[in-house]
Subunit: 385 residues, 2 copies
């Protein structure tokens, strides 16, 4: 196991009816900005629950955060923050809304000339407004970590700071019952791949981390397809297990003390930035190709994955690995997400442009061994056609 | 899954050489009291590392915390705290030292007449000195939770508060290389049973919690016996996996959202209080008897335990459960801890007194269903003879 420091102070309130807890978590003397997306929370009862919980608070709202939140949209919040003396942000939505709130929180107190530098130049965040989150879409884990991704002009750029980690997060699985199949699919697949990026590297004998990762993978494999079945549309237990898995997938725990490989995400970000493909659907396309191209380097972990997650017992390890990759693709197909670039209308002609974007963004040495060069990324993209 | 709130803000610094991190974690203007036990830290290099890390700090020390820390010993620290204006406690040791520091921290700022009431009357802790921990014995999980157990006149009483949860904990597996076999055994078994008390109840379909618990159990079953072998005495990976498992076993995570059954601990506490038997060794005696007496109520979870932890494939569920209980006893025997009262010199004649102590301490409705009455506890003790 590698040395690590782990700190996750986000308080979680989990379960049916927990949105009311925001009343206790946000100081009553705070000036709260409620941040949300396209308004779906007004149709599923979440907005009403938030409003009811904030009767003792002073608050106003900022809506219109889009999927892959854009810098331009987020900067519009700054005027309200100044005008209303906002000193607490409450993000109500999925990962995009929480990510957006994080950038708004950091930009509001940024002392440099241009808050775009937080993303473009990775300028350190020294202060940020406090954030709370009411999660409506289990997927990104953003509700209890310090990471955020913001898009500007087709460039999808990450930043991170412990200062933008939500102080608390409400996870009520009931609010996820109104999600569309596409949102459920994307969420489950996004969480699944977050786990894989922290798991499928080389072994450092981190037994707890490996088993926690495998436990989460098994849970998503079992519960994800179930959540898409018509007869399970009201099943709160399925949604609860998916929701808790997605949070645990990226709260820092399973990645503490083990190598990580975020190449699938980094390549995927370029597909979203350039072509607007749903984040999760870029990942389900790229991951199988990464597994195939790096199967030698990741051999031991692929064998473990095959045995513990897919319960494969073949004698021949190569067969076992091939089957595990095929079963992973099959899982994505059952989750109704694409596994090939051709399924989202991309072809060989698009690869050069994607590789150029990777170069532009400095993504020239990806993977746990920093050996996924631009040439290897190109190979991955070609295999994903 | 049950509704829950989960909050664990303890920062973990894990790995070889991490003790130096205490210099960054404790404010330099603090007056620190370093609290430790019998002085083993002076022989294994830990004391020296702590002293080296605190060169910029003002500190003094209080030693002599015994296993099962006594109220009388802990109260002696109060004079130093007053005299030296202590405002930060650094616990350096195992669970007893950390538990002791927690009571010292709460008693120092207790505003009632008698700080014994924190234990005897469960008076709420409203203020406490901040605590950091350098763990030397993985076992209790006390380094990142808010619980503590203190003994006075043969009575072992718990208290808990988020205010006494350590702000940070250093877990350096290297410092555990100097532990005796008995300390390793006790630590592994204590952690194992912490997991079982949060796992072996009835299912609420908490798939993440169950799989995390099973992952920790599997890790301890694999690594515990290895740690006792002469050829592994310098194996840092084994110690690292045990150390991280023991912390994760009782940091609140695997118990969030699931029923719990602390009957083994409550009955075990009486054995330690009255007869001075090592904590873990009371648990290894009591747990198998609890499994046998409550095997009907715990049937489904015992079957799951048999399948997932012991990989049993028998068709007959009753056979599977019996084998799983026998394998658990076998594991304890391989860890060189007793599984019967007779092995620690107790007989039928002692049971009445133990049951009376349970009654005295209000332990009349134990277990996840509150159905372990005094009569059932007596049955458990008789089966453990």
């Amino acid at each position: 196991m590698l040395n690590f420091s782990f700190h996750n102070p986000t308080k979680i309130h989990f379960g049916d009816g927990q949105i009311k807890m925001i009343a206790n978590e946000i100081p009553t003397n705070a000036n709260v900005l409620v941040i949300y997306g396209g308004g779906s929370i007004k149709h599923n009862g979440v907005y009403e629950q938030v409003v009811n919980a904030l009767t003792e608070h002073t608050w106003c709202e900022f809506s219109g955060i889009e999927p892959n939140p854009s810098y331009d949209t987020l900067m519009k919040a700054q005027a309200i923050i100044a005008e209303k003396n906002i000193d607490y942000l409450l993000a109500v939505g999925g990962g995009s809304v929480v990510d957006g709130a994080k950038f708004i929180a950091a930009a509001a107190l940024y002392e440099g000339d241009d808050s775009w530098d937080i993303l473009a130049k990775q300028m350190p965040v020294k202060k940020a407004l406090p954030i709370g989150a009411v999660l409506t879409l289990p997927a990104t884990g953003s509700e209890s970590n310090g990471g955020s991704v913001v898009t500007r002009d087709g460039n999808k750029l990450p930043f991170g700071s412990p200062l933008v980690r939500p102080q608390f997060a409400v996870l009520d699985p009931k609010v996820t019952l109104s999600l569309s199949d596409r949102q459920i699919s994307n969420g489950v697949v996004d969480a699944f791949i977050h786990i894989m990026e922290q798991y499928l590297t080389y072994s450092v004998n981190g037994k707890v981390q490996d088993r926690f990762a495998e436990g989460l993978l098994l849970t998503l494999i079992e519960e994800g397809p179930k959540a898409l079945l018509a007869e399970n549309k009201e099943d709160l237990e399925i949604r609860a297990n998916i929701m808790w898995s997605a949070t645990m997938a990226l709260n820092g725990l399973i990645g503490a003390g083990v190598p990580q490989d975020w190449s699938t995400h980094m390549i995927g970000h370029e597909l979203t930035g350039a072509f607007g493909i749903d984040h999760a659907r870029t990942l389900s396309i790229i991951l199988p190709a990464v597994m195939k191209v790096k199967r030698n380097e990741k051999h031991d972990k692929l064998v473990q994955f095959a045995e513990r997650v897919w319960h494969l017992t073949d004698q021949d390890e190569a067969v076992k690995v091939s089957k595990a990759i095929a079963l992973t693709e099959d899982f994505f197909q059952r989750m109704k997400v694409p596994t090939r670039l051709s399924e989202v209308g991309l072809s060989k002609d698009n690869i050069e442009g994607i590789v150029q974007k990777l170069e532009l963004h400095g993504m020239t040495q990806l993977g746990e061994n920093r050996d996924i060069t631009l040439a290897v990324s190109q190979q991955i993209l070609e295999l994903a056609l």
